[in-house]
Structures are given as C-alpha cells and as structure tokens.
Amino acid sequence: MKRNNTADENTLAAASLGSRPYFNFSSKWSTVVLLVAILSGIGVFIWWLNIPFIEDIFTSSVITLISVLGFQLYMGNSGILNWSYVGYVGIGAFASAIFSMEPSLKAMQIPIMYPFLQKLHLPFIPAVLAGALVAMIIAAVVAWPLMRLSDAVGSITQFALLIVINVLLSQWAEVTNGPRTFTLGGSRQTTIWVALGFAILVITFVYYFKESSLGMKLRTSRDDRYAARSSGINFVKVRYQGYVTSAFIGGLAGGLYSHYILSITAGSFYMSELFKLLSMVVIGGSMSVSGAFFGALIVTLAQQGLRQLELGLTRSGFEAYGMSEIVVAILMILFLILRPNGVTGGRELSLEALRNLFRPKQYTNNNGNKK
C-alpha cells in the first residue's frame, strides 16, 4: 500500500487501521477530543446546575487536573517520579501572585518586599504566564546537573530540591511573606471558564507533547536508556527538556491556583499536595494522559465524597477528620499492588478503546488486527 506521507502525525498514527474505512480521522487524536468533551461536558453541566459550591469544587479540581497533567508529562514519559514538581507549582503560584497584585496592596501587606518586586504589575493572564515562565526558568537553571542522575540518587536529589524550594518559599519573607499567608487582593480571577480553557489547552498540549518527537524520545529513555543512547538519543537532554516543560505547566497550574484561592502559603505546595498528585497519577495510570485525567477525576470525587462522609460521621459523634487521606493512601497502595498501571493500564482513552470496551474480548496476544 502506497501511503501519502504529506499527512501529519494524526493520520500517520491512524493508518494502522487502514482496513477500517469508517474511521479515517485520527484514532489517536480522538483521545484529546474525548477528554476535552468529557471535561467540558461536566463543566457545562455544573454551570447549568448553578450551585456555587459545586462550581468551586469543579474549578479547583480543574486546576488540580492541570497540575496533574504537568506532573504526568514528565513522570509518564520519562518514567521518573519528579518529587520536586510541586515546588514549581508553588513558585508559579507565588510568582504570578506577585506579578498580578497591585503595588500599593503589596506595599501594605508585605512592606519588606523587595522594591523591584513591589513595582511589578501585570494583568491576570500575563501574570499567570509570567509566573509559569519563572518556574520554568528556575527549573532550567537548577535541573541541568541533576538530570544525569538516575534511580535512587535522582529521586533523592529531587526530593532534596523540593525541601529547598519549600524552605525558600516559606522563609524568604522579602518575596513570599515568609511563613505567613500571602493574600492576594481583589476577587477571584480564575473562574470556571478560565480554568476550563487552560485545562483544554493543557490536555491538548500534553497529549501533543507525548506524540511529538521529543515526547517519543523521552519515552525511549523511560523504556531503555541504553538503547536510547545507542539510537542517537541524548537522554539527559530530552529529560531536561521534558522536566523544564513540566515545570512550566506546574507553574501555570500554580498561578491559576493562587488566583483562584487568593491566599497561599508554602505549605500548600509540599508533601500533602505531592501526595495528592501522586495518588492521582498512580490510581489513574502514570503512563497515559488519560490516566492522569481519570486519576484526577477519581481522587477528587473520592476526596469530596469522603469529606461529606467525614462531616456526616463527625456530626453523629464520631470524629473522622483526616480519614480521606487514609482512604486515598490505602487505595493507592492497593492499586500499586494489584494494578500498577492504574485504571487505564497505561493506555489512552480513544474511540477504538471505547469500541473494544463494548466488544467481547477475543484477542489474547494479537491486538493488531482483530475483527
């Protein structure tokens, strides 16, 4: 079969199913379409419900989703757990807050803030993007020497880096108001629509990244870095690029978060946040974008449900505070044991996968061309 190679990656990827005429549009890009459709569907439904507190929960979950996608972008493609990721979320949150806050407000709230920071002032969206850029630049500066470390050493240095970032965020009073709460003035700017819009962009981008040649190269270093090296891939470099990209998305999520919640402390970007992201990725399946998506969905639902349960139990006299984390942690261990690749098993949601879901399983090891 002669193929027309002017087609871009979409059709290329779909071409395997050459014998399937009714589905010529990309099978792979259906993932993005489906995920976006699900997310917007829920969003519109919730907007229609018009219950403010559900809308709030949804908005904050969407921000978390962006954060998880950035986390997955590196972890899923490189196979390396990035312990310092939430640090970049924090940097993005603080940086964008500093950018967007009125200088007079900054002067009032944090009188000791460096004057050049006090003078900065950007509108909301540019501030968020600038914050993400700051996170990315910091990642770019610190990460280069760390990228060639792997395995235990790599994990340890990333973990140490997280602690360093946390100490700086929580102690550098001239920048972040120190251990105290940093309060942004004004009203919430990350509305449900802003969050949704960014989420759609980020889903698309993260998916595109995975399928891009950079993403592909990064995935090779996950599967076998020796083979990657001997195939001409400088895995240190692609890891670095992936890491920095992921820090950008993390910073973006942080900026959206700070403009949603309006009061931030360094503690919000530390162990328990890391644990939350980790549990989402583990439960959903770290190797696919869909995994991060569904992981975020499941954990958010579970946490909200458990919070209601906590409330209910407490009202009936049984103190159940803190239960949600325990349940999520146990869930996570169960997943790690029983289904290490998460609910999605590392696969992407796609039209084809949906079709297979409703079709009796008949293939054992031959899933290339089943009827």
Binding site: L12, T220, D224, R229, N234
Partner: protein
C-alpha cells in the same frame, strides 16, 4: 554507485580492575562486507562493541569512520556518523509501538518526523512487520522483537551495523531467516556488518572474514574456513588438553 566507507579501529584497549578485557585490538571493515567477531565466552567481544559504540570509555585506541574520529564521542553522538548497534539481550522500547520504535532510529540521527515515519513504514514493510506496527513492542514474539531491533538500527541509515548475538534465542528456522536477511543486506544497502554470535553455523556461512578474540587479544583473522582450522582458535574454544 555508492561510495565505500571504512570503519577502522586501531589499538583499542580497555581493562577492568587491572584485567585486560580488550587488549590492543585493531580491525577494519568496509561497507559491503560482513565481518564476524568470535571468541569464547569472556573473550571481550561485547566489551569491544560497547567500546566502539561509546557505551564504555576506552583506555586507549582510535576509532574512525572515514576519518571521522568517533572514539571520543558520547554514545548518542555516534549513530549520526553511521554506526549503530543491536543488543544481545534485546533492548526495545517496550511500551512504544513497533512503528515508533523504528522511527526512533531515524529521529535519533536527526531526521524530521515525517521522513522518519516514512522510513519506518518502509522498513516494517520490508521486514514483514507491518501488521504489528501499532502493537506495543513488548507484545511481539521474540523473533519479531529481534527483527524490530534490526529495523530500528537500519532506520538510522547506517553505514555500519554492529549486531551483538542476533541469533541468540532464535530457533534454527528463525536463524535461517536471519541469515537470508543479513546475507543480502551489505550489497542491498551498501553497509558493513560486524556480527558477534555463537551460532557457528550462521557465522561460518554468513561472514566474509572472521576476527577471533581470546583474553581480549586478537588470536586469528581471516577467512572462515581458515580460522576454523587454526589450532589456536580450537584451543581457545575447547581448551587445551591437560598438560
């Protein structure tokens, strides 16, 4: 029609903790020929391959392809100069599809994505793997994995291909297939092949020349039938009679 390239190694040495794994080995391969590198277990063959592909740092020696000194390069810089390898224990990207695996070979030497995809498609077709193009590599049969690894190497459009025990784990029939594939490759693609294998049936029939290592040193070189009769080679393989 196509030019001849020369891959040349001279005086290559490497020792581990005082033990000389590769000791002053020199070798020369031209495009279009197949050289077999053999020797008993532990004689330094794999170390040799790791050295010339930059996976290990050499102690001494010079490695060139057409005057390009690749001996000082990092492993990932070498494929673009025309030298690629395969592994004894197959090293595929197991979660990537067959197509992506092959594409990587091309992307690794700087090809654009579209071109890489085209090259990969063609290679899969050529090696009869097209049907499995979207299946993750880990689901392939062992034979297909071997072929896929070779396809990935070929996607880099190499001048020289280093095959580390490509027949290991293949049954006789599959080895015959491999023979058929490899024997025409040098001429078809104008590449030179260095092959390490223990399957003497394959080696003896496939190679133009043999190079025998023992204790890291070259003990014989020449045509297969000569090498086979070389008493030193026989001793290396079977051991000497007790003195």
């Amino acid at each position: 029609m196509e030019s001849t390239s020369i891959f040349e190694v001279s005086g290559l040495s490497k020792s581990f903790a005082g033990l000389k794994a590769v000791d002053n080995v020199s070798m020369k391969i031209k495009t279009g020929e197949i050289l077999g590198l053999i020797g008993p277990n532990g004689s330094g063959k794999t170390t040799f391959i790791n050295l010339v592909t930059g996976m290990l740092e050499k102690d001494a020696g010079r490695i060139t392809i057409d005057q390009h000194n690749i001996g000082e390069m990092q492993a990932y810089q070498i494929p673009v100069h025309g030298l690629v390898r395969t592994y004894q224990t197959i090293r595929l990207f197991k979660h990537l599809s067959s197509l992506e695996n092959v594409m990587i070979g091309a992307l690794g030497v700087g090809m654009k994505r579209k071109q890489a995809a085209a090259v990969a498609e063609d290679l899969l077709e050529e090696l009869g793997l097209s049907e499995r193009r979207d299946a993750p590599a880990q689901g392939l049969t062992f034979r297909d994995q071997r072929l896929l690894e070779i396809a990935r190497a070929l996607a880099a459009k190499p001048r020289f291909l280093l095959l580390d025990e490509p027949a290991a784990g293949l049954n006789e029939e599959e080895t015959d297939e491999l023979f058929a594939l490899l024997s025409v490759m040098p001429e078809q693609k104008n590449i030179g092949i260095l092959i390490v294998d223990h399957d003497m049936r394959l080696i003896m029939n496939l190679c133009n020349r043999l190079h025998v290592l023992n204790y890291g040193q070259t003990i014989a070189e020449g045509k297969p039938e000569d090498v086979r009769r070389n008493p030193e080679v026989v001793v290396a393989y079977l051991g000497s009679e007790a003195s």
